[in-house]
C-alpha cells in the first residue's frame, strides 16, 4: 500500500480536460444540447471534489461521462494516467473494478427482484469472477462496513428504508474495492438525520480506504462538509473552483454568491436579514433564457454589462488556488457580503446552548 500512496501523491487519479458532453436532439434537425461545455477537473487520490450547480448545470453529465454512461463529445478523460475518453467495453470492464457509483435514487438503483446479497456481489461474480467463498466474505465485509447486519443479504430492496438502501448502494460500490466513487446526489433523497449518518459513512470510508470521491450535489452545505475542493458549475461551464472552505465561505463568482445567499438558514432572524439583502440585489432566478454567446449567467447577474453578453469569461486564478470565470471579478467580490457570511458560529453556539 505504501508504494501506492507515493504514487497517489504525485498523480491525479481522475483528470478531465475540456470535457464536452453533447446530447443529440430528438429530431434530426434539432441541434441538441451541450450539457457540459469544456470542463477540466483534477481529482487527486484520496481527495474529494464536490460538484455543485443547479439542475441543468451539467453536473450529473460529468459523472456519467467519467463512468462511460454517456459518450464524450470532445476533450479527454484520464484515469490513473491512462486515457479512458473512449474506453471500449473491455477496458470499461476493468475500470469498473476501480471506479464505482452511488446514485441519488435509492429506490430505482436496485433491481427489486434481486436480493441485497445478489445486488452487492454482482460485480464480484460477473465482472471479477470470484469464487463463492470469496464473494461471501467480501459481501459480509461490505455490509458490515456500511453498518448493516450480514443477515440483510437475503432480503429484498423493498424491505429497506431509503437510508438503508443508500447504505446498500454504498456497499455495492465498495465491494469491488474501488479507488474512486462518483456520488451523484447520493444523500439528496434522505431524511436530514439519516443524511448525516450517510455523510459520516462516506467520510469514514474515505479515511479508512483512501477513497476519492466526485461528490455531486445541488446542496452546497453537503458538498462543503465532505469535499476538499469545490467546483461550481453553471450552464455546463465551471464558474468557480477552489478549496472547499474558501468557495463555500467566501464565494467569489456572482452565481456562487447567489447560490449561497439563496439557501435559507434555520434561524429566522438571520434568514430575514439575508432575504432582504438578497431581494435588494435582485438576482433573477432560473428560467431566464441564456444568451447563445457570452457568460451563461449574464441574464441573471446583477453585474452584467455589455462584455458579459458578448464574451465568455475565461476561468482564471484570481487568488491562491481559487479560479473564477467572471469579467467583473473585482466588483463581484463582496457583492453579497453580509448575506454570504453565514452566522455559522453564532448559530452553532445557539444550538449548542440549547443542545443536549
Amino acid at each position: 500500500m505504501s508504494d501506492a500512496e507515493i504514487h497517489f501523491e504525485t498523480v491525479d487519479l481522475v483528470r478531465t480536460r475540456d470535457l464536452v458532453v453533447h446530447y443529440p436532439g430528438r429530431r434530426r434537425r434539432s441541434p441538441g444540447l451541450d450539457a457540459v461545455r469544456g470542463v477540466s477537473i483534477d481529482i487527486a487520490a484520496g481527495r474529494t471534489v464536490g460538484l455543485v450547480g443547479e439542475s441543468g448545470s451539467g453536473k450529473s453529465s460529468i459523472g456519467a461521462a467519467l463512468l462511460g454512461l454517456v459518450p464524450t463529445a470532445a476533450g479527454t478523460i484520464s484515469f490513473d494516467g491512462a486515457d479512458i475518453t473512449h474506453a471500449d467495453r473491455a477496458a470499461r470492464r476493468l475500470l469498473a473494478r476501480r471506479m464505482q457509483v452511488v446514485f441519488q435514487d435509492p429506490f430505482g438503483s436496485m433491481n427489486p427482484a434481486r436480493t441485497i446479497g445478489e445486488t452487492v456481489t454482482e460485480a464480484l461474480r460477473y465482472n471479477l469472477g470470484l469464487d463463492r467463498g470469496v464473494v461471501a466474505d467480501r459481501l459480509e465485509r461490505a455490509l458490515t462496513d456500511v453498518g448493516l447486519p450480514p443477515s440483510a443479504a437475503g432480503r429484498y430492496p423493498g424491505e429497506f428504508s431509503g437510508g438503508q438502501r443508500q447504505r446498500i448502494a454504498i456497499a455495492r460500490a465498495i465491494a469491488v474495492d474501488p479507488d474512486f466513487i462518483v456520488c451523484d446526489e447520493a444523500v439528496s433523497a434522505l431524511d436530514l438525520s439519516v443524511q448525516a449518518q450517510v455523510l459520516n459513512l462516506f467520510a469514514r470510508l474515505k479515511a479508512e480506504r483512501g477513497l476519492s470521491y466526485l461528490f455531486i450535489s445541488h446542496d452546497l452545505s453537503v458538498v462543503r462538509y465532505l469535499s476538499d475542493e469545490i467546483v461550481v458549475l453553471f450552464g455546463g461551464r465551471v464558474v468557480e473552483q477552489g478549496p472547499a472552505g474558501t468557495v463555500a465561505g467566501r464565494p467569489a463568482h456572482p452565481y456562487t454568491q447567489a447560490l449561497v445567499a439563496a439557501a435559507p438558514v434555520p434561524d429566522p432572524v438571520e434568514q430575514r436579514r439575508r432575504r432582504l439583502q438578497r431581494i435588494a440585489l435582485a438576482v433573477a432566478g432560473a428560467g431566464t433564457v441564456a444568451a447563445p454567446q457570452g457568460c451563461a449567467f449574464a441574464p441573471r447577474c446583477p453585474l452584467a454589462t455589455a462584455i458579459c453578453r458578448e464574451e465568455d469569461p475565461q476561468l482564471a486564478e484570481r487568488e491562491q488556488q481559487v479560479k473564477v470565470a467572471c469579467h467583473h471579478y473585482e466588483d463581484a467580490r463582496g457583492l453579497f457580503d453580509g448575506v454570504v457570511s453565514t452566522e455559522r458560529t453564532t448559530h452553532t453556539e445557539r444550538v449548542e446552548m440549547g443542545g443536549t
Binding site: E54, S55, G68, L69, R89, R93, L94, L95, A96, R97, Q100, V101, Q104, D105, F107, G108, N111, P112, A113, E122, Y126, S151, Y156, G158, E159, F160, S161, G162, Q164, R172, A189, D191, L192, S193, V194, Q195, A196, Q197, L199, N200, H218, S221, Y225, A258, A262, P264, V265, P266, D267, P268, E270, V283, G285, A286, G287, H347, R350, G354, G355, T356
Partner: protein
Amino acid sequence: MTRTTPTAAATPVAIGVPVAHRGFCRRLLRKPLAVVALGYLIAIVVVTVLAGWIAPHGSDDQDLAQALTGPSRAHLMGAGELGRDVLSRLLFGGRVTLLGEVISVGVFAVVGIPAGMIAGYRGGWFDRVVLRVADLVYAVPVVIILLVVLAVFPNDETIAMVALGVLGAPSLARVVRSATQDIRDELYVRAAVVAGLSDAVILRRHVLPRLAGPIIVQLSLFGAAAVGLETGLGFLGLGVTQATWGTMVAEASRNLGEQPWLLIPSGFVIITFVLALGLLGDGVRDASAERFEPGRPARRPILRSIAPQRLLQVSTDNSPGAQDELLSVSGLSVTFAIDGVDTEVVHDVSFTLRRGQALGIVGESGCGCGKSVTARALIGLLAPGGEVTAGRVVFDGIDVTAADRATMRGVRGRRIGLISQDPVSGLDPSFTVGQQISEVVRRHRGCSQQEARRRAVELLQMVSLPDPTAVSKTYPHQLSGGMAQRVGIAAALAGDPDLVVADEPTTALDVTVQAEILDLLRTLQESGVAIILVTHDWGVLADLCDRALVVYAGQIVEQATPTTLVAAPGHPYTKGLLRSNPRFGVPGRPLVSIDGVVPAPGEWPAGCHFQDRCPLVTRQCRVGPVPLFALARDPGAAGDDRGEHGVRCVLVDHSVSGGARV
C-alpha cells in the same frame, strides 16, 4: 425529508422484520381463474400424451355401422366418417395439434425475445433491421406465406408451424424492444453497466425478468392464434392427413347437414383451449407483476410508507378572537389500512390557525404520499383505506370531518387551495395551462369562458410569471420547474382561497428558484391568505412561517415559533435534527446524527415515540404516553404571534412551566 424522490417507504422497516415474499407459484395459485385454466391445460396435455393408453379406440379404427352417429355407449362422443371414434381422434389429434403449438410458440419465443431485447438494449443498425423486418412481415398476409411453404413441403406440419413461429416473431420482437428500452434507462441497469457486467448478464439478470409480463401475454395470444391457424390449415386440407383438431373440424363441416353434433367436441376443445391459454396468460402476467411491487412503493401509497406525522397536535395558541380563527383541528387521529391492518398514522393532533398566519409542519418523513395524506385529511379527501378515527377539523365554521360531499366541494379548491411538490403531475398534459386554470375558475365562479380566461391570465400575472398570456398558451411539459410551480400556485389561487396548503412546494426546485417561490408565498400571506407549509427544510420554515410544529412518528413533539426552536429547542429530537444539518458540520469531524430510523406506524413504542433513538432516554420515557408540556410563554413569540412553547418530553424543565399540561 424527501427531496426529489417521489417514492418511498420513509418510515423505514426495521431490518428484523422481513416482508413476506410469496413465491411466484403461490401468487399464481391465488388467482382462481388462472388455476382453473392451468388445471384444464394440464389435463388436456396429459390425456393427449396418454392417448395410446386411455383412448377407447385407435385413431383410425373404423366402425362403419356407427358412421356419423351421435354419442352412444360404444362411442362416447359419437363417431365420424367411416365410424371413427370422435373421442379417440380428439385425443390422438391433440398430440399433433399440441406439438405444432409447442413448435410454433417455441420458435416465436426463441426468435422474437432475443431479437427484441438486443434491438431495444443496443439500438443502432440491429434495431433498425428488426423494425423494418417487423414492418415487412406485418404487410404480408401470413396465410399466403404458409401456403407457399406448404406448397414446397406438402403436408409437412412441422415446417409450417416453424414458419408460423418465424413469421410471428417480429411482432413479439417489437413489443420486447419497446419494453426493453424503458428498462434500459432504469438506474439499476446503469449501476450494472458501471459494475462492468457484460450485456448478456445484464439482459439475463436485470432485463429479462422484467419482461416476463409482456412476453407471457404475447405468448398466450400467439398460442391462441397458432391453434386457430393450425385448425385452419387442417380445415383447408393443407396440414397433415392424420387426425388433428383441425382435420376434425373439416370432417365435421363436410357432414354438417347429416350430423351437426360432430362439430361440437372438436369446436369445444379448441375454444376452451384457447380461452384457457388466455386466462392463464393473464394470471401469470399479474403474478409476475406483483413480484416487483414491494420495490415500487409508489404503487402502494398507503402501505408502510405513510408519513406518520404531518398533522399536528395541541395548539396552545391563544387566539384573540373566534372570528379570527380560520382552521381548528382538535384531537385528530387518522388510521390507514397497512397490509390489511388498520394502523394509526396520525395520533391526536390539535392546532388552530388564524387568518393570514403561516404555520410550518416540519419533520422527517421521506415519503411524498404521507404529506398528501395529511393535506387530504384537512380537506376531507383521504385516500382509500384512510379514515379519520377521532377528532374534528373545523374550517371557518364548517366541520370538515362531518361535512357532506357537496359542502366539501365548495370548500376544497375554492376556500382551501393545495400546492403540491410536483405541480406538473397535477396538470393534464393535453390542455394548455390557461385552459386548465380557467376551467377551475369557471367551476368556482360560474362565469363565462371569456371572463375565466381573463382571470386565468390575471392569476398567472399575480404569481409573477414574466409573460402571462404566453404562459397561458403553453402546455405543462413545456414549463421549467420554477414556472410550473408558479402555475401550480396560480391554480391554487383560482378560487380565491383563505387557506393554502403547501406540501413541500419547493423541494424539487433549485435554491435560487426556491427563494423566489418563497417570496411569492410570503406575498400571498401578506395579502391575508393563511398558509400551512409542510417541509423538511428548516431554512424554508424559517423563511416563511410564524409558527412551527415539529412532528415525529405521528405526534407533535414540539411547537413554538421558528426563532424559539432554533434558539432554545426543547425536544431532543428537535435538537438532534437541527444539529445534524450539514451546514453546521465541521469538515473532518463526524456530523451529529440521530441513530436509527423513524419507527413505522404500528411499531411505535409505548410511551415516548422517540425513546429508541433518544440519547437521554430514561425509564420514565417508556412508562406511558407523554403529554405535551407547556413551557413558559414562547420567548420568540412577538406581538400578535402569541403562543406557548410546547414540548412532548418528560425531561423538559418543569420549573419553568410547573409541569402544566397543555
